[in-house]
């Protein structure tokens, strides 16, 4: 009897151990992510709050027709198939693009993805008379897909989009355009505010819970169509924590596992406490964008070059606690669009002073310029300390810079209006300091270099115009070979650098700090990040 009871208790102990292990194996893995935004970005299909928001409620819940490869970190990503398996311009009429759609894809609500859904979504953001038109989503994406002129369904799995003019770079616009479920919108009474709480896309995550300003729970979509991009974590909880110190405290306290943009001064503490810091080349640049309009002190290329040679960028990187890389141009030197500029950005005070002297300036007769800057904000890094550093550096080469300090929202108004506008010209503002996203050819190069986009037609703020650059950009629009596109873009970029179009200072590295519980996170060289790569 005693033996039987002993055996029974052994069996029970083994059984309970097996159950515990089994439960452990199947326990839900959760990653809590402290994001720097004050609210969860829009969940209806097109996220608001800029490019950085796409990683949270964009490419998690939804898919584009053409996607950006965001699950590689050791090289720049490229365009890859999304909900379209193939896309090509019609050889007879290069304005027409045919998209072959992926078969067998279902939205989270179970409805099937077909050509009708693509047309419905294009109407949703481009046709203000359509019943599903949503002004908020439209505002986000319409400026991102400016080439679209018209579109039609060819068959259930083929869509034709016609561009306003021949635009070989059109596919780069498509990762911004995400497809949400028409059935879900119908089911929820055609009410976008209801869709925000119960969205339905085709993405690798589904939205499980949304508490505005507090959290959004994304759960793994086990039926996701792309088996190579299956989420490695069952649940990701997004927690908006706009204050940087609060984010750090939440990480140190264990309330979150990952945070965006830790402030540079806490990095030593984070590292010594065993937290990991992940950063990568990021398509961002922190420049002074010069005005080359008549009357601007920057019209003389020698002055622009001198400014570029007066900055000790390594010292600025140090000021940033290592959370930046020195800029050699508009894009990182490892980028295929970098090219081979003859003007090398560096720190060379004698050369800078010589250029200034050649241009007619000296200590007794310094060049005076006013730069409009923001007191801080997204993409502005450590705006005030960095600007003060540059002010002192430029003074070393007889450039006396004064600042017009405004809030970021106000700075955007000055930016959109252009250097020539009264709000800038009347105040003597001849340069603007604004962090630029440089993720695709248009964002990195065209919008700043093409004379067609001189403000207010675009954000060629300073009125840069170079016929050689314009001709190359025209050629890119009609060049469908990607390698040729890259080499033409490289040619434009090297001209921009040789012309010292801006004072390029540093690139952001989009730092993330994470607890040792996070086993893997691949940080792409982009603002689009792939949260499916997070493994706990």
């Amino acid at each position: 009897m005693k033996h039987t009871s002993k055996q029974l208790s052994r069996w029970l102990a083994t059984l309970s151990l097996v159950f515990t292990l089994h439960a452990g194996l199947h326990a839900e893995t959760v990653a809590r992510y402290g994001i720097s935004m004050a609210d969860i970005p829009l969940t209806t299909g097109q996220p608001d709050r800029g490019a950085g928001a796409y990683q949270f409620t964009g490419h998690t819940l939804y898919d584009p027709l053409v996607a950006w490869e965001a699950n590689v970190g050791n090289r720049p990503g490229k365009l890859v198939a999304g909900l379209a398996t193939q896309w090509k311009a019609d050889p007879k009429d290069n304005k027409k693009w045919l998209f072959t759609l992926r078969k067998g894809v279902k939205f989270h609500d179970g409805s099937e993805f077909r050509a009708d859904a693509v047309i419905w979504n294009l109407d949703k953001v481009l046709v203000d008379k359509s019943p599903q038109f949503d002004v908020k989503q439209s505002a986000q994406v319409r400026p991102r897909i400016p080439s679209v002129a018209s579109y039609r369904k060819v068959d259930d799995y083929t869509v034709e989009i016609t561009t306003k003019e021949v635009d070989a770079l059109f596919p780069y616009q498509l990762p911004w355009f995400l497809i949400s479920s028409p059935s879900q919108w119908e089911k929820l009474g055609k009410d976008w505010s209801k869709v925000a709480v119960q969205p339905s896309g085709t993405g690798p995550f589904k939205l499980d819970k949304l508490v505005p300003r507090e959290r959004a729970d994304l759960v793994k979509n086990v039926a996701y169509w792309d088996k190579n991009r299956m989420a490695k974590t069952d649940r990701i909880v997004l927690v908006p924590i706009p204050d940087a110190m609060t984010r750090v405290n939440a990480l140190l306290n264990g309330q979150v596992d990952i945070i965006e943009t830790p402030p540079p001064d806490v990095l030593p503490q984070l590292k010594s406490s065993g937290f990991k810091l992940v950063q990568n080349v990021t398509p961002h640049v922190w420049p002074y964008h010069f005005s080359t309009q008549p009357g601007s002190p920057w019209t003389d290329i020698r002055v622009r070059k001198a400014a570029n040679l007066a900055i000790d960028r390594d010292a600025i990187v140090k000021l940033m606690g290592g959370l930046a890389t020195p800029a050699k141009g508009q894009v990182d030197a490892s980028n295929p669009w970098f090219g081979k500029p003859t003007f090398k950005l560096g720190y060379d005070l004698p050369a800078a002073r010589a250029l200034m002297a050649e241009a007619g300036y000296s200590q007794a007769k310094p060049l005076k310029a006013k730069v409009i800057i923001a007191q801080g904000g997204t993409g502005q890094m450590l705006s005030l300390p960095m600007n003060e550093f540059i002010q002192q550096s430029l003074a070393e080469v007889n450039i006396q810079v004064s600042f017009e300090v405004v809030e970021l929202e106000n700075l955007y108004l000055h930016w959109r209006s252009g250097a020539k506008a009264d709000m800038n010209a009347s105040k003597g503002i001849s340069a603007i300091n604004l962090g630029y996203v440089t993720a695709d050819p248009f964002y990195a190069i065209t919008r700043f270099a093409d004379s067609r986009y001189v403000a207010p037609n675009g954000v060629n703020w300073g009125g840069y115009s170079n016929p050689k650059v314009d001709a190359a950009l025209d050629k890119i629009r009609t060049t469908f070979d990607v390698k040729m596109q890259d080499s033409l873009l490289a040619m434009v970029h090297q001209t921009m650098v040789d012309d010292a179009l801006m004072l390029w200072v540093v690139h952001d590295v989009n730092p993330h700090a994470m607890s040792p519980k996070v086993k893997e996170f691949i940080q792409a060289q982009h603002w689009f990040q792939d949260l499916t790569t997070i493994r706990m």
Binding site: D128, S138, V459
Partner: protein, 317 residues
């Protein structure tokens, strides 16, 4: 009494109306563009114009104000430009979170302030008085933001006793009155309570020490009244002033503290205001300011009504 209350209620109407005008105009005076909250920074002019028209921002400001006021009196504060959600719902959700936080902070601050002030007043000139005075001066002078960070570092990161931020493990929508949720309140409430505690301590101390030297107290003691009985008389005489000061302090707390709520990511009115200001979300900003101002108006009204109940002399004037 009825006439008194009615008068006070009538006074509240022009005040509320002025509040709506000021809150509406102030928002427009600030530089920046509300459409930055929804449109990408480089959105072309036609997109901006379409948005202006969609949100009615292309109309003259007085027309916008009139329409807004018309809706506001019906309880509709419009739709947030940034989130697309109803402002009334946004504000009410934030108000309930702030009420929770401010209620606890006000209770703690007023209670500790009254006790410390009374003790200091009774022990005027002793070391107890000096300690209470130092505490009250520190309470009034210490920056909220800094104190919040220090408390977080000590009690949350070093000791691990309390969470560093948030309004509960599942967010404020799943709030429960248990220890697991209550611990989220401790640090922000403690941070918020320090200023009212300091002010009330100073007020009560000054009133009590002054009162103790008045002739009626000497007379009460000469009649042989016990310490407790004398204290009751002193408490009753100091109450109207303390109530007025506490009312103002509670009003400030109910208004939410932008800094404290941001430091603790507490989803209250301060946090909401901060977001609305940075996004130039005009409807949200106007709605929040209006509701907060109305808090002050209502709270002052309540204090005005309570004061004559405690001290009937005040009602006679």
């Amino acid at each position: 009494m009825f006439t008194y209350v009615l008068k006070r209620l009538l006074y509240a109407i022009p005040i509320a109306l002025s509040v709506t005008v000021v809150s509406f105009v102030l928002v427009y005076l600030a530089p920046g563009d509300p459409l930055n909250a929804i449109a990408p920074a480089d959105a072309p002019a036609e997109v901006i114009e379409a948005l202006k028209s969609a949100y009615g921002l292309d109309r003259p400001v007085p027309v916008q104000y009139g329409l807004w006021l018309l809706r506001a009196v019906q309880g509709d504060l419009g739709t947030s430009i940034a989130s697309g959600r109803a402002v009334t719902g946004e504000v009410m959700s934030a108000v309930s979170n702030t009420l929770l936080l401010a209620g606890i902070a006000a209770f703690g601050g007023v209670l500790v302030g009254c006790v410390l002030g009374a003790v200091a007043g009774y022990r005027h000139g002793t070391w107890v008085d000096r300690v209470a005075t130092i505490l009250s001066v520190v309470g009034v002078s210490i920056p909220h933001y800094w104190l919040g960070l220090v408390l977080t570092i000590v009690f949350s990161i070093w000791l691990g006793w309390f969470p560093a931020m948030g309004a509960g493990p599942g967010g404020s929508s799943e709030w429960l009155w248990d220890a697991g949720h209550f611990k989220y309140l401790v640090l922000p409430a403690l941070t918020l309570s320090v200023i009212p505690m300091g002010i009330i301590t100073r007020t009560v101390r000054a009133l009590v020490s002054d009162m103790l030297e008045q002739e009626f107290v000497v007379a009460l003691r000469a009649r042989g009244l016990s310490g407790h009985a004398v204290f009751r008389h002193i408490a009753k005489n100091t109450a109207p002033t303390v109530l007025a000061v506490a009312g103002l302090q509670i009003g400030y707390l109910m208004g939410g503290s932008i800094l404290v709520e941001t430091v603790f990511a507490w989803p209250g009115t301060g946090f909401l205001l901060n977001t609305a200001i940075f996004q130039r979300d005009i409807p949200l900003l106007q709605g929040t300011i209006l509701v907060l101002c109305m808090f002050f108006v209502v709270l002052n009204l309540v204090v005005d009504i309570l004061q004559p109940l405690i001290d009937p002399r005040m009602g006679r004037g």
